[in-house]
Symmetry: C2
Subunit: 528 residues, 2 copies
């Protein structure tokens, strides 16, 4: 079975990349050296940070980057080009002449910082634009979204990604599972993602399971073998407890479903309790079966609530657990409450303020489709061609690109937090620990700051030099890296409401370089 999406081929590109490639080829500039930066211009979700993700997929894509015969045949038939030699050239294209620099996958990142820098023959780098953007934009968006949910829920809660059914396409789902995990979730319901990436999978049962049981007659065999090796009748014991606790008005189909489920998973019994009536049927039925399991020596997990007022229901459920534990004089504090149903960042903050009793959140639609902002506007811009820097100017200041080959350094202050990212022209002296450096806003003349770094971390690394030159990193490693960084950032940059912007700057030399080029290229506006 393929561990990558079979659609990730060189054909996954915009048609104009191919028409441009032909025109470069025809004008014999296709092999001239070019440098492209991949970056985003604005942080997503009205926040002040993003998590860079997708790099491992980019590298695996480069490893397989070759047009197949049928691709060439298709392009031949569509492109209306008589030059057969172009297609011969195209059939020989691969990523062996490309170098790719990047910041590590999982790095907390900011606007205008090159996440990836691609160097190589102009036409090949051009062809890579669309797939690389596709392979970075959504992963980074989801990882960022997941990290925001993690921050909102708090470090001690467990978060499960549940989004398969509502995701944008098959791969929208698989990517969302992978990058939610990287962004700080614990597990996914998506079995394929579990298998492909080694992510823990989680899940219990649905409403339809409960509905499928009409009554005890649907349980084929109520006997269960306890940890002590003795056979017991789980249904009978549950029914006795039901009587003892005066829960005799609960839905019997639901109770039977719970018993049947507990018979299948005595070590990990977790019941969905809102099929008929959460407080008057679901939780009482759960308690009957859970207490029966405890009596036999098993340890049930808890309940899942999928509708209604999650704060109120979770608090009432906890109270019912406490009351029952007092009644039987046993400890039930280990029972977990899972909540799902349309949870987003605001819901998490609202639940927090209400003192909810939820231990685990199952989050789907809002997480995986990034409802608050469903696209990250990452771009891929030419910054050098044939050895000369290029600038893309625009009437919109936010859309001006920073020309030239640049490396990024993260500078840490005395308190151990990152204080700013500094872009330095490749080849210029990097900032040094303890040495004062002037940092300038790339576009705004007024904004300048002097900093004496306590520590300097070079972020830009060579990942591909005709072939992969760094070890593969697993989802687990990247996830750990993300979580470590999140706890190492000043929390005011990460908070949801009015976060403090993190400073992005350029050296004095790079500033001059940008502005000289800008002045040379921009026409003076004539009004009227």
């Amino acid at each position: 079975m393929l561990t990558y999406n079979s659609f990730a081929s060189p054909m996954l590109t915009d048609y104009y990349q191919l028409t441009m490639a032909y025109s470069y080829w025809r004008n014999k500039i296709h092999d001239k050296p070019a440098v492209f930066d991949l970056f985003f211009r604005e942080n997503p979700f009205l926040g002040e940070f993003a998590i860079f993700a997708g790099l491992e997929e980019v590298l695996s894509f480069l490893e397989r980057y070759r047009f197949e015969d049928e691709h060439i045949d298709y392009l031949c038939s569509k492109m209306n080009i008589r030059d057969e030699d172009f297609f011969k050239w195209l059939a020989g294209v691969d990523a062996s002449k490309v170098r790719l620099y990047a910041i590590d996958e999982g790095t907390i990142s900011f606007p205008n910082i090159p996440l990836i820098r691609v160097e190589g023959p102009l036409a090949v780098c051009q062809l890579l634009e669309s797939p690389l953007l596709n392979l970075v934009n959504f992963p980074s968006l989801v990882a960022t979204n997941a990290s925001r949910f993690r921050i909102a829920a708090g470090r001690e809660k467990r978060l499960i990604e549940f989004g398969l059914r509502r995701a944008q396409g098959i791969d929208g789902a698989v990517s969302a599972s992978r990058y939610s995990y990287i962004g700080g979730f614990e597990s996914t319901s998506n079995v394929l993602a579990g298998m492909l990436f080694g992510i823990p999978v989680a899940g219990t049962h649905a409403h339809s399971y409960v509905q499928a049981f009409k009554g005890p007659g649907d349980i084929s065999n109520p006997m269960i073998c306890g940890p002590d090796g003795r056979q017991s009748n789980l249904l009978e014991i549950s029914m006795e407890i039901r009587k003892e606790l005066n829960f005799e008005n609960t839905n019997l189909g639901e109770l039977s479903a719970f018993v049947a489920y507990a018979l299948s998973y005595p070590d990990s019994f977790l019941a969905l309790v809102d099929t008929y009536d959460t407080l008057r049927s679901g939780i009482p039925n759960f308690l009957c079966v859970a207490l029966a399991l405890i009596k036999l020596g098993f340890k049930p997990i808890g309940i899942r609530i999928d509708s209604g007022d999650l704060a109120h229901l979770s608090k009432t459920a906890r109270k019912m657990f406490v009351d029952t534990s007092l009644f039987y004089e046993i400890d039930l504090s280990f029972l977990k409450i899972v909540a799902s149903n349309n949870i987003n960042e605001e819901v998490l903050y609202s639940l927090n303020s209400q003192g909810h009793q939820i231990d685990i959140f199952g989050i789907g639609t809002h997480l995986v489709t990034c409802q608050a902002q469903p696209a990250l506007g990452g771009v891929y811009k030419l910054v050098e061609a044939d050895g000369q820097p290029r600038i893309k100017i625009s009437q919109d200041l936010g859309k001006v690109t920073i020309p030239g080959r640049k490396d990024v350094y993260r500078i840490y202050g005395r308190e151990g937090y990152p204080v700013l990212d500094l872009m330095v022209l490749t080849g210029d002296a990097p900032p040094e620990k303890g040495e004062k450096v002037m940092c300038r806003h790339p576009f705004n003349e007024i904004k300048r700051a002097v900093v004496v770094p306590e520590r300097v971390e070079p972020l830009t690394r060579l990942y591909w030099d005709g072939r992969r030159v760094k070890e593969k990193r697993s989802c687990h490693e990247i996830r750990e890296f993300v979580l470590k960084q999140l706890s190492g950032m000043r929390s005011d940059h990460l908070r949801a409401l009015n976060p403090t912007p993190y400073k992005i700057s350029v050296t004095r030399n790079l500033y001059g370089f940008i502005h000289d080029l800008w002045a040379a290229e921009a026409p003076v506006t004539e009004l009227g």
Copy 2:
């Protein structure tokens, strides 16, 4: 090369489907007959309709529905089940005992109408829930979104899907291309989607192409062979026209890029004109090269504008074309104006109200990520188990399911428009042309209507009976079907602002059936 996504395997499911399957199997109810309905509860985008899509992918998924050895090995290692026989059973599962009824792909559809009805062994139908929802939700959402853009732009405009770089994952992009086409777009920039589904591909060049040219020196050979077989120097002729028209302040790198592009595509020259300055450099440069091409006997296509005020720029561009055509006394009315840059439904309506001069829209992010609502809430609910109808009740009226096997009929009125959809219990007499029928709101006792159908169209058809029992339909056929239906609906149901709801109803018999079951299952709420 695979024509389907390699991730579309039985493992593309939620883990709880597998835990439920085991529990059904262990309780020996896995083979009991079950019926599930797939439907949505609310129209997307604050509209009053949706386009049902994804059926062909569902059928192709069923054809390949089999767990592979490595899937079974993975599940064995994860599921903590000692019953080896369950995995033997699972390894033998396929869709050969499943029947699938559906409305035709591309049908305009409405809340609560079963889009798909799945019948078969309980455990198998259960396993299909997550993948079927994934394969229907996003396709239907994108097709609906595309049809709304089509309605907003007007039938005579051309629409190109441009969303690859911002889509949610690889397949988010490929699916968006496919279903935007089905929803009424003309073409896509996505080459892979073009190849896989036969969708026309479109595209020209990017800003980086223009930036890659510093001046005439980057053109390797300015000579071009005209339709008459004579060689001419395109650069020289363009430069002469530039002088004639007093356009000598335009950016020379841009002019060179346009000449180079025209040399590559003399029959289909379309220039992106906003790299430096749309009105003072881009359009003048385009005109120089376009007029040179015309002089040599070619027919250029036009310009693309990718930033700025699209209404103002398109009107000014048109005026410049008209002025030039008067100056040279030639017809330039065939020149097309393509616009892109963050276009959504509202932008289209706003452009309409300003009398824009755009012929072709390139639409990306908002279309493919469905920014206005990035998920369709399609659900898959058990409506019959072991021959008995099942109802999922809920305190939220909108979440009650309609139990039992149902067929859907579309009823047309005297003016030839559909007036309502009627659900009938399978086996009950269908509505007949000219015969009065009582139609009831499924949940609201008060809402009733009598209708005499002018025409009755049965919508529910058998598509899968252990194997595909209907011919494959191409994207082109489905697209034609969508466009035909859109023009056959009363426009007030389709309009963007305050559209009229379309009536969804049930027969008197089905109404009674729902409400009897509801009363039997629902507990009477106790307050206090």
